[in-house]
């Protein structure tokens, strides 16, 4: 079997980080192919359920990225998101659902393609170091 590669579910906001991913692509920047991008209208749309659902279905890590606070297309979406993320991440780690380093958050504007590629590398590296996430996957019932 070939070497294990992590799957990282990546939620990007339409206006900034998705644009950064696009720019990184057209600029031919190299970044790991482990990220699976899901486009959100805004990080304010991000729901804790999404992260739990990703982990439950076998994602090894989750990365959420949006506009810098203050630059939100919807003026204040990421301000609300910021409070949610702060509580969410500590609670995920506190209850032992994830180890520190499996869930990442960042602010990346649509001009910051280099930062996007750099952060993608860091995220995948951190998750690779932790190994596959196993314990939160719902096991199928064993049928004889």
């Amino acid at each position: 079997m070939s070497e294990w590669e992590p799957k990282v579910i990546t939620f990007l906001c339409n206006w900034c980080s998705y644009g950064a991913a696009d720019l990184a692509g057209v600029s031919r920047f190299q970044y790991p192919a482990n990220i699976r991008i899901i486009r959100l209208p805004c990080t304010g749309r991000m729901n804790p359920k999404f992260i739990l659902a990703a982990l439950r279905h076998g994602a090894d890590g989750v990365w959420v990225s949006g506009c810098h606070p203050g630059d939100c297309h919807y003026i204040e979406g990421n301000f609300y998101a910021r409070r949610k993320f702060a509580l969410l991440k500590t609670q995920l780690e506190y209850t032992g659902i994830i180890e520190p380093g499996r869930v990442h958050f960042s602010w990346i504007s649509s001009a910051e393609a280099t930062i996007f590629a750099e952060k993608a590398r860091k995220v995948v590296e951190a998750i690779k170091a932790l190994g596959p996430a196993q314990h939160f996957i719902k096991k199928q019932a064993e049928v004889a």
Partner: protein, 314 residues
């Protein structure tokens, strides 16, 4: 505490006779020892059934959301905080309420007392002042109530109601205690140990949702556990489903939980579900300086923001 009984009855009779309210929500004697049941008196005669003692741990604010009539309600410190949250969240209007504030010295934990009795069944419990006398077949024992309080009451720092229309007694002295000792212990664990700790904690869970139903902050028209398209949480007792449920339940009450202990009290298998909610309470207090329901016109912490909020997650 029992002295409130007379005052509650008197206030209920007065309010009902003057037609100031349509009902008075309080407690009446339950059919089992240590179990008072919530009760709404609708006539002055029914008001005589109302009682108050150390077994009124259920949070009565749970019966308020979406009511349209005028209601008087007996409220401990925690209940009153939940009422003020519900007013803030437009579940009920302040004008509809007549709050009978009950300064509280904590509720008895029947499990702790039962644990002292070698499995013998308690058939009768009588409370007198700070003592509880329990008796059953061939035994009789007296306990100091202050040593057998619910865990959330033992560390309660807001015993007096924050809003009320009339008080049932003099304010009691607030406790000076370290609230987060157990949380700090868990925080100090390794990720592996934390996972094990919480797996063992929720292992007996039968997914009855009593914790959700008893919670005055849980009133969504459709709860996330009942959603089916998409289905976020499986309905089985598979460890992953149970973990997801407890995680999301706690997250939903982040910054809205008054730590009234109704969830823990109602759990039929005795899971300490407050270990989930208390951590969020601690974080909200540390990050945003907010305590649920303490200030009437302050929006809940996840409903507002400051431009300079901390970003510990980056």
């Amino acid at each position: 505490m029992q002295a409130y009984t007379e005052k509650i009855r008197e206030a209920a009779k007065r309010l009902l006779a003057e037609k100031k309210v349509d009902g008075v929500i309080g407690f009446r004697k339950g059919t089992m020892p240590f179990m008072n049941e919530p009760f709404m008196a609708k006539t002055p005669e029914q008001a005589d059934l109302l009682v108050w003692d150390g077994n009124c741990g259920i949070n009565l604010a749970n019966y308020l959301p979406k009511r349209t009539d005028k209601i008087a309600i007996v409220a401990k410190g925690c209940d009153s905080r939940n009422i003020s949250i519900q007013i803030l969240e437009n579940q009920i209007k302040r004008e509809q309420l007549h709050i009978l504030g009950a300064p509280c010295k904590g509720m008895t934990d029947k499990r702790k007392i039962q644990d002292e009795l070698d499995g013998k069944e308690i058939l009768q419990a009588e409370e007198a002042g700070d003592k509880v006398k329990v008796s059953g077949r061939d035994f009789e024992k007296t306990f100091n109530r202050s040593e057998y309080l619910q865990e959330n009451c033992a560390i309660c720092i807001h015993r007096n109601p924050v809003i009320s229309d009339e008080m049932l007694g003099e304010p009691v002295q607030e406790q000076q205690v370290e609230r987060y000792e157990d949380i700090k212990q868990i925080e100090a664990m390794l990720p592996e140990e934390k996972r094990k700790h919480f797996d063992e904690l929720i292992e007996p869970c039968i997914r009855c949702y009593a914790c959700r139903s008893a919670c005055p902050a849980c009133y969504c028209p459709t709860c996330f556990v009942d959603e089916s398209k998409p289905q976020w949480v499986g309905k089985t007792t598979d460890p992953t489903d149970t973990r997801t449920f407890h995680f999301l339940r706690a997250f939903h009450v982040a910054g809205r939980c008054s730590d009234c202990g109704a969830c823990e009290r109602s759990c039929p298998v005795g899971i300490k579900v407050r270990e989930f909610t208390k951590k969020l309470e601690k974080e909200v207090k540390e990050l945003y300086g907010y305590e649920a329901g303490m200030v009437q016109d302050l929006r809940p912490p996840l409903d507002v923001y400051r431009p300079d909020d901390p970003e510990p997650f980056l």
